[in-house]
Amino acid sequence: MTDQDPELLNVAPGEPHDSMLSETLSYVIGLGLALVLTGVSFWVASTSVLWGPGVATGLVVLAIAQMGVHLVFFLHITSGPDNTNNVLALAFGVLIVFLVMIGTIFIMAHMNTNMGVSPELMNLQMQH
């Protein structure tokens, strides 16, 4: 494969900016949003603003939002035509992560229920 690219600074797909200001702005906005989301996460976890059982879900939603902010503003994963390969790869990665995590949690929870472990043994394993 011959490298016919003479440009020293040709960069990966998804970087359409040329001006330093707009590039820097992308990172500044990303940092700002991430700081806000982090602050809100810590706040939600310490006050009773959300209904008790819903706090964990709320935190996960905030985490996913912050991961999205990182992907778009820091990693420049956009929906441009140059970026399609990156987005497809990401989608596949997310699918596998989703399967592994949800699958494991589902299976383990049901296994514990179905195995009918005696209460004393269960207490030894799970202490709260």
Binding site: M1, T2, D3, Q4, D5, L8, L9, N10, V11, A12, P13, M20, E23, T24, S26, Y27, V28, G30, L31, A34, L35, T38, S41, F42, A45, S46, V55, A56, L59, V60, L62, A63, Q66, M67, H70, L71, F74, L75, N85, N86, A89, L90, F92, G93, I96, V97, V100, M101, G103, T104, I105, M108, L124, Q125, M126, Q127, H128
Partner: protein, 214 residues
């Protein structure tokens, strides 16, 4: 099976070859293919972490009568760790912007700051691990603690490798300048560093925040 008489219909006219010398209609240039390949590696790394997360989620309550997450984790320290890593990610972006303009001074400055903030993160984490082990809450104490040390320790090991890589890149840029292959490596490093911050978002939410809910 197509017969020979159908060959022209399939596009083989034998009059002109559309076979290409590699490079014409061949793969994309290295500056596109290399970061894409590294992105694929980073995604596989995230699959590794998802397996560790799944183990942690399963074993988070298997404390064997020992210390629990609420007793062990300090949110203040976690907040400092999170801010360090987040700002280091931002500063890494600034380093890339400077590198694209072949600005030696600012590339080195921002890379140094990235490394220092990463080192702050790592120090806090090592301090946390050491104090947990000192009070008897080491990885051998319970399944919960084993999975905690594996998950967070794996992330810390990745951060350590990232710091070594940052140091190496700073030295390489200094001695070799902003050549194309150095730029590609820098781009891969920044993808790696941002990905580590993404994983930390998941860790601080699931392990530290959800683990210390009242």
């Amino acid at each position: 099976m197509t017969t020979a008489s159908e060959a022209p219909a399939v596009g083989l006219t034998h009059q002109s070859s559309e076979d290409t010398g590699l490079g014409h209609r061949g793969p994309e240039s290295k500056s596109i293919v290399v970061p894409y390949g590294f992105w694929l590696f980073v995604l596989s790394d995230m699959v590794l972490f998802s397996a560790l997360f799944a183990s942690y989620a399963t074993l988070a309550h298997a404390t064997d009568g020992g210390p629990t997450s609420s007793e062990l984790f300090h949110r203040g320290l976690v907040a400092v760790e999170t801010l360090s890593l987040l700002v280091s990610s931002f500063v890494c972006g600034l380093a890339m912007i400077a590198a694209k303009r072949a600005n030696m001074l600012w590339t080195q400055v921002w890379l140094l700051v990235t490394g220092l903030l990463g080192f702050v993160f790592l120090s806090i984490e090592l301090y946390e691990f050491a104090s947990m082990i000192a009070e008897g809450a080491g990885p051998q104490r319970s399944a919960f603690l084993s999975s905690f040390f594996t998950l967070v320790g794996c992330h810390g090991a990745h951060v350590t490798c990232g710091l070594l890589w940052i140091g190496t890149m700073m030295a390489q840029i200094w001695t070799k300048g902003f050549q194309p292959h150095i730029m590609r490596r820098l781009l891969c490093l920044s993808v790696f560093w941002h990905a580590l911050d993404i994983i930390w978002v998941a860790i601080f939410t699931i392990v530290y925040l959800i683990g210390t809910l009242p």
